[in-house]
């Protein structure tokens, strides 16, 4: 049996620091919002001429009066991702760019993807993203509140917040782009983290009913160990699937799968070191679950 409980305090301290740093990052550095949430235009280009390089392309784009333009390689050597604000929301901007590129580089570019999000839509998307995440947290809270006692709900929700905040903190730290699919990833993380926590909690509750003489500090450790192989196997298979998406699923799914990978790692960690320590700190005992049984 591994003594997870020996490190409860250490890891609580670590999580505290992680959350603190993430919040600092989120407040002062902020998130790198993509065009979905910031508005603007995105173009994915593929060139058929290998003499064209990223700096000549960047020069060309900066001459086009598009405002702040970012030109980056995207996966392949011949693929580029161009992003700019498109403040005036010009209608024929794509045609103009196409003409300009053709003039300078010849007809060598394939416009593989064009996305243009107006300021109104991006504000709405951001709002609905925030609502979706808040709503999912609220629904999870509600569900677990029905299924378990309040101490468990608090533990699970703190674990959820930890996972979401730290994942976003990592995105902020590395300036990774937040777009619609990241919101989907965050929601899935919420589901996954909850899933993981619930399995351990289920066992904690079962053990609480079974043993009246074991203190919660010991009891959580027993429960974590009993469910440990399941925790490891499920995290492992989920991570295997996600790594497959990350490495082979193409450039578009990279951010999504990365967020999920982080979420699974943090989710697994938080089920053990946040959710359970809340039970310990709230001095949950056999009485807590038996009282609940009397009621029903």
């Amino acid at each position: 049996m591994i003594a997870f409980n020996k490190y409860y305090n250490h890891f609580n301290f670590l999580s505290g620091i992680l959350i603190f740093c993430s919040l600092i990052l989120l407040v002062f550095k902020g998130l790198n919002f993509g065009i979905d949430f910031k508005g603007g235009t995105l173009i994915e280009l593929r060139s058929s001429d290998d003499k064209i390089n990223v700096s000549s392309l960047r020069d060309k784009f900066s001459q086009m009066n598009l405002g702040d333009v970012s030109v980056k390689k995207f996966g392949n050597d011949t693929d580029y991702l161009v992003k700019f604000e498109n403040k005036d929301n010009k209608k024929n901007i794509i045609e103009e760019i196409k003409l300009n590129l053709d003039k300078s580089f010849g007809n060598n570019f394939d416009f593989r993807r064009v996305e243009n999000v107006g300021p109104k839509v991006s504000a709405e998307l951001l709002k609905s993203g925030v609502i979706a995440i808040s709503l999912s947290l609220a629904v999870m809270l509600f569900y677990i509140w029905i299924r378990f006692e309040w101490q468990f709900s608090l533990g699970a929700i703190l674990a959820l917040f930890h996972d979401v905040i730290v994942t976003l903190g990592v995105f902020s730290l590395f300036s990774l782009e937040i777009n619609l699919s990241i919101i989907a990833a965050v929601l899935t993380i919420v589901g996954y983290s909850m899933n993981d926590t619930v399995v351990i909690f289920d066992r904690v509750r079962e053990n609480l009913r079974k043993y009246s003489d074991i203190k919660i500090f010991e009891l959580t450790n027993i429960s974590i160990n009993e469910t440990l192989s399941r925790t490891i196997i499920t995290s492992a298979t989920t991570l295997l699937a996600l790594l497959a998406i990350y490495f082979f699923g193409g450039e578009i799914l990279k951010g999504f799968s990365l967020a999920m990978i982080l979420g699974v790692v943090f989710g697994t960690y938080s089920s053990i070191y946040i959710a359970n320590t809340v039970l310990v700190r709230l001095k949950v005992s056999q009485k807590t679950v038996l009282r609940e049984d009397d009621k029903s």
Binding site: A132, G191, N195, T234, A241, L253
Partner: protein, 517 residues
């Protein structure tokens, strides 16, 4: 938990086979209609354009207020009530009237049977609000009046948008209302999104008006630029004929001038007015105005009574074709702005499909190998179940002709990773039970029973997340939530029916074997 009746085994087998057959109809062709269903590919996989259009209702409201000032003036003139200083400011009309008539006007507007202010009994509201603000009266649209106006311009606009897109001839476009001032257009497999964008970006408001310098012709004049931006001319506000009078418009090669022109034919009313204008206005210039810009302003040489004419204006064949198309399909009630666009080229779509399939295959393989190493026979059972699960999932998506997107494929891969969870929970529980319980069958039984609450709780949490995503997400993300959500049900089915069936068959054959799992 381990007992299966014959009928249940039959049901499970048939159910699985049915969905496997439906799923395989994506690969093979079946004659039967039921089996010829296919999963739809989302725009991000098959290529195409997603456009969100917003109707700019401000000009419509302005126009309505403009018309209303005339109506109000005439209506009360007939009743010998003098209205003065009528003017539009922002979204309201203001006018002065004698104090004794004020109440009469207010009553006219608030009467349920008012002739100039329609009443909507359903909403218990008039179209217009009237307010006495001391010095004058103020009239503006009520909340319901605005809603009615927006709804009606949306109805008209969606019809015109549909006609224009149909004329371009893209296959299976999807045109839907969003809210009361937006239109969503999805165009799968479109090769030239720019053309559609430019067609939808034009209001196509066509008018024929005289070029004049006479400021006092009763209608007023305005200065308009030519289409090519080189010159401008003063044009009367009096409309001779408008796009509404057109019956047909076609691009044509004019044999005399060797130019591409747009030939048109007018309806009876239009032909009559056009005939009259061309007979009285010989020698004058008739400006052809499209969306506030002059295309051309030919000099009238002859009376045209036939109701057929030509518009020239230095067109290329493409621009003449597009103009004819716009004129045939009619003018939009209000300008449309493209507020969101997402276009994916067909080859990127194919690349995404390939990448998704490779990721799925590799993810699947990794999970299968892992499970086999970890659980041997039971790993094998899990793996076979996993494959059947995948087919049932695809079968259900096919049956409902769901749209598969790239995030949707990611959802399937994720389902593969998480689907083993339930089996793992059960197997681990059985292992624990076997420590105290030597009877294999009893241990398996209680393993299934005791793991059930954890499995259900765990799956419900993921399902809740998927449901929220479905309602809050858009396009591709919706595809993700669908595969994730459906995946939960197929997973539970395959774990509790298929995997359990295999497990029960294996366990009853090896009931006395030690270290079964």
């Amino acid at each position: 938990m381990l007992y299966f009746s014959k009928s249940r085994i039959l049901f499970i087998t048939l159910f699985s086979l049915l969905f496997i057959t439906i799923a395989s109809s994506n690969l093979f062709k079946f004659d039967d209609e039921f089996f010829s269903k296919k999963i739809n590919l989302g725009l991000d996989l098959q290529g195409g354009s997603y456009l969100l259009l917003e109707i700019d209702n401000d000009p419509v409201i302005e126009q309505k207020l403009q018309n209303l000032t005339t109506t109000i003036r005439n209506y009360f003139k007939d009743q010998n009530i003098k209205i003065s200083n009528i003017k539009i400011d922002g979204d309201s009309i203001f006018f002065n009237v004698d104090n004794q008539n004020k109440q009469i006007i207010v009553d006219t507007f608030t009467d349920e049977n008012s002739e100039i202010n329609p009443y909507y009994p359903r909403f218990k509201s008039h179209q217009l609000n009237i307010e006495d603000i001391g010095v004058n009266l103020k009239i503006n649209f009520s909340k319901q009046g605005l809603v009615a106006l927006k709804t009606s311009s949306q109805d008209q606009a969606i019809e015109i948008v549909r006609r224009r897109i149909d004329e371009v001839g893209t296959n299976e476009p999807n045109i839907l209302k969003r809210g009361n001032n937006r239109i969503l257009v999805e165009l799968p497999g479109l090769d030239d999104p720019m053309r559609v964008k430019s067609l939808l970006g034009k209001t196509a408001n066509l008018t024929f008006r005289f070029v004049t310098n006479d400021e006092n012709d009763g209608f007023g004049v305005e200065k308009l630029k030519y289409e090519d931006g080189t010159d401008e001319a003063t044009v009367s506000k009096r409309i001779i004929i408008s796009g509404d009078n057109l019956l047909d418009a076609q691009p044509q090669m004019d044999t005399q001038s060797n130019q591409t022109v747009v030939s048109f034919s007018l309806d009876r009313v239009g032909a009559k007015r056009f005939g009259k204008a061309t007979s009285t206005g010989i020698g004058k210039q008739l400006a052809i105005v499209l969306d506030g810009k002059i295309i051309s302003a030919p000099v009238i040489r002859d009376t045209i009574a036939s109701g057929n004419g030509q518009i020239s204006g230095g067109f290329t064949f493409q621009s003449a074709t597009d103009l004819a198309l716009l004129l045939r399909s009619g003018a939009l009630p209000a300008p449309l702005n493209i507020i969101e666009e997402r276009t994916v080229g067909p080859d990127l779509g194919q690349d995404s499909i390939n990448a998704g399939m490779i990721a799925l295959a590799i993810g699947f393989l990794l999970v299968i190998i892992f499970m086999f190493i970890k659980y041997k026979v039971f790993g094998l059972i899990t793996n076979v179940t996993l494959i059947i699960n995948l087919f049932i999932l695809l079968g259900i998506l096919t049956l409902f002709e769901a749209t598969l997107t790239l995030p949707g494929i990611a959802g399937i891969i994720l389902t593969v990773g998480m689907a083993v969870d339930a089996n793992v929970l059960i197997f681990e529980r059985i292992k624990e039970e076997l420590k105290d319980e030597k009877n294999n069958i009893l241990a398996f039984d209680s393993g299934y029973v005791k793991s059930r609450t954890a499995i259900i709780d765990a799956n419900i949490t993921t399902l809740l997340a998927a449901i929220i995503l479905f309602f809050m997400g858009s396009g591709p993300i919706k595809g993700f939530s669908v595969t994730l959500g459906v995946g939960i049900f197929t997973t539970l089915f395959s774990v509790y029916f298929i995997a359990r069936l295999f497990t029960s068959l294996y366990v009853s054959k090896n009931r006395n074997k030690e270290k079964l799992i």
